[in-house]
Symmetry: C2
Subunit: 432 residues, 2 copies
Amino acid sequence: MESLGIAMIGCGTVGGGVAKLLDEQRVRLAERCGRNLVLRRVVVRDPSKIRANVPKAIVSTDASAAIHDPAVSVVLELVGGVTTAREHVLAALKAGKHVVTANKHLLAEHGAEIFETARKYERTVAFEASVAGGIPIIAAILQCLSANQVTAIQGILNGTSNFILSSMAEQGTGYAEALKEAQKRGYAEADPTLDVDGSDAAHKLAILAQIAFGVTAPFEAIERIGIANLHEMDLRFASELGYTIKLLAEAWLVEKEVALHVAPVLLRETDMLAQVRGAFNAVQVNGDAVGEMMFQGAGAGALPTASAVVADLVDLAVGRAQQTFQAAKLWSTNVRGFTLRPSQEVRSRFYLRVLVADKPGMLADVARVLADHSISIASVIQHEALEDHAEAIVPLVIMTHYAPTGQFRKAVEKINQLKGAIPPGVYYSVDD
Amino acid sequence: MESLGIAMIGCGTVGGGVAKLLDEQRVRLAERCGRNLVLRRVVVRDPSKIRANVPKAIVSTDASAAIHDPAVSVVLELVGGVTTAREHVLAALKAGKHVVTANKHLLAEHGAEIFETARKYERTVAFEASVAGGIPIIAAILQCLSANQVTAIQGILNGTSNFILSSMAEQGTGYAEALKEAQKRGYAEADPTLDVDGSDAAHKLAILAQIAFGVTAPFEAIERIGIANLHEMDLRFASELGYTIKLLAEAWLVEKEVALHVAPVLLRETDMLAQVRGAFNAVQVNGDAVGEMMFQGAGAGALPTASAVVADLVDLAVGRAQQTFQAAKLWSTNVRGFTLRPSQEVRSRFYLRVLVADKPGMLADVARVLADHSISIASVIQHEALEDHAEAIVPLVIMTHYAPTGQFRKAVEKINQLKGAIPPGVYYSVDD
């Protein structure tokens, strides 16, 4: 049986999972792709460390030697980041090697350069593990839904954030405490910034926007609102209104424009995405033929992510990955002609919570500002004064009907300036 | 651009959807597979009928002429049933044509013959639409989860049954009324027998068992319990205990044996499958690397099913389907060596509801029988006497711990014979 030689650059959590599967499931994998998947080289920073499932003889610090080894035909990039990862990927393609990567950050920022280089050298880049870990969302959109134009994507793409929001909503814990628990369980990094500020989800959304709509979205073009400032009070009000707040990465097709954002969004409690708890990931995809679909599973972790990486290796061994790569023409000519819609033009319903002095006329003033901006109110909650404020302060919660985001934001700016209002008014999109 | 010539045999609901996609999305599909997908022949019983998206000139009643047309390289079998469908599929393969089919009944009964013929004539059979309509569960298991051994599958594979159960649980409607509503909405056939008795789901489960475990399950080997005798009372008790009842098609790997059944099952209300409402389908798959995954979407309907059929056509045009077919070796040698586990050996928790005379000692008698069969009780509900019985009758509801099915059934037989019990005792599996 022929072999497929693999060089793995980086051997952290995911790399360990990949080595485990390649080693322990050798027979199973060979049976499924008609070739032996053989790990020939593993490149790490510290070769003295003992690694399970990795023979010491194949470990080195020399990425270039691994890439240029004639026995290697696939380079698996698992170092992360965008600097050396980019160099390794480009070098591998130029050396005539296929590339498998789980690096969303790299593809989101350098997708065009990498895919162009791959096409030039007639090599394939496979990247199933870069979005939503073990969930095969890339294959689903590129292959399984190929009869459809995707019209909308809503994803819970960051497990750390979802774990935090689930804990806050279900146990009523505060943000800081929920984050600590996520770190204790190994979901969140010591520095969780990229998770909780929406950057990680935005990188993944950029990849999904490319495969579903053919648009290249610069990172700055994706509006990001994280969860670090989300208040327990807003989760409670949302719940009272029958909604759950989730950090969603969303992309919609509106006419010929694609709207993208990462933000906390209010979902109806009966919505499938609202049910996704803990560190799970989920992606809802709407297709113009298939309708609404949802995929849910582990979005991170050694073995779930390795499951996606090894599926790419199997696809390369079988030859499917090469065909998909050629057919998909990613980061290439924008054949569908979609462009990005500026965020202020996106129409949405909104949840607005503003703290106001407990005095007559405040609701009238806020409602007047919204009316002046042609924003129609769907419902209102006004509660008793908050106990933890010295003066009498009440939270005023308003759900609006659909309005353009830019228009709504102008209204909130005005509301922030109202006498008796305690800025800033906090607002989130509402999905129906 | 080269063409892929298609002959479609049968042009009902799904055929109409396929014709619509091929006609209206011609440009999109050609762009995605580098070939024009061209409908060359449509074979129907009544060619005089006007069909949208199908030029009259390509319609005929002559299946053989369509199959042997040199301009046709793929035959799309959409007639359903197992008699003429089998003949057309075998004839097509022998004529050197690839086959795409949505016919679960045919594959469940004649999979071995069809796949063997396809291998002999070096042609491909693609069948994504045969299970769960628009949900790409075949591709998910065969390709995307190729690094995994699937360890369990739980599917809501019959939309009609799920619609009926959802209506009964949510609106408290009776079975007959819910079925009528399903028929009114076009979910259920005039004769809904195959839907509600579990046969349709069992056909789909046989296909999933083949692709996930490599086992060929004769139809009779899959135990089927339908929903036609499900009583509202049991939905209410289940709800009281925190469970929802769903008609599930389930397959588990236990040691080297695969257990299969289609039956109403109690799921915890927080379980993802318990949330699947209305006519949707959903499949939960556990893989030994990826963990728990769930796929949800439309399991029937013209365009969702056509979405899966056309994805197969695209995969054939690109060449992926041929590679997957070769690599998967379906209905072939059972390389994994799994066998079927007899249903009585399957261990499960059970919900048991038995009507008993409202007299002292009944609970003691029932509990004694269970104890004599080494079945341990987890919880009990006993309610007030039922109003609609002339004599005083009470429903006794017992949730057991794990027990072998055969052992449990023997106990129920004994309980049915107890003095004061009104047989039969009704029982369902409980998934935790």
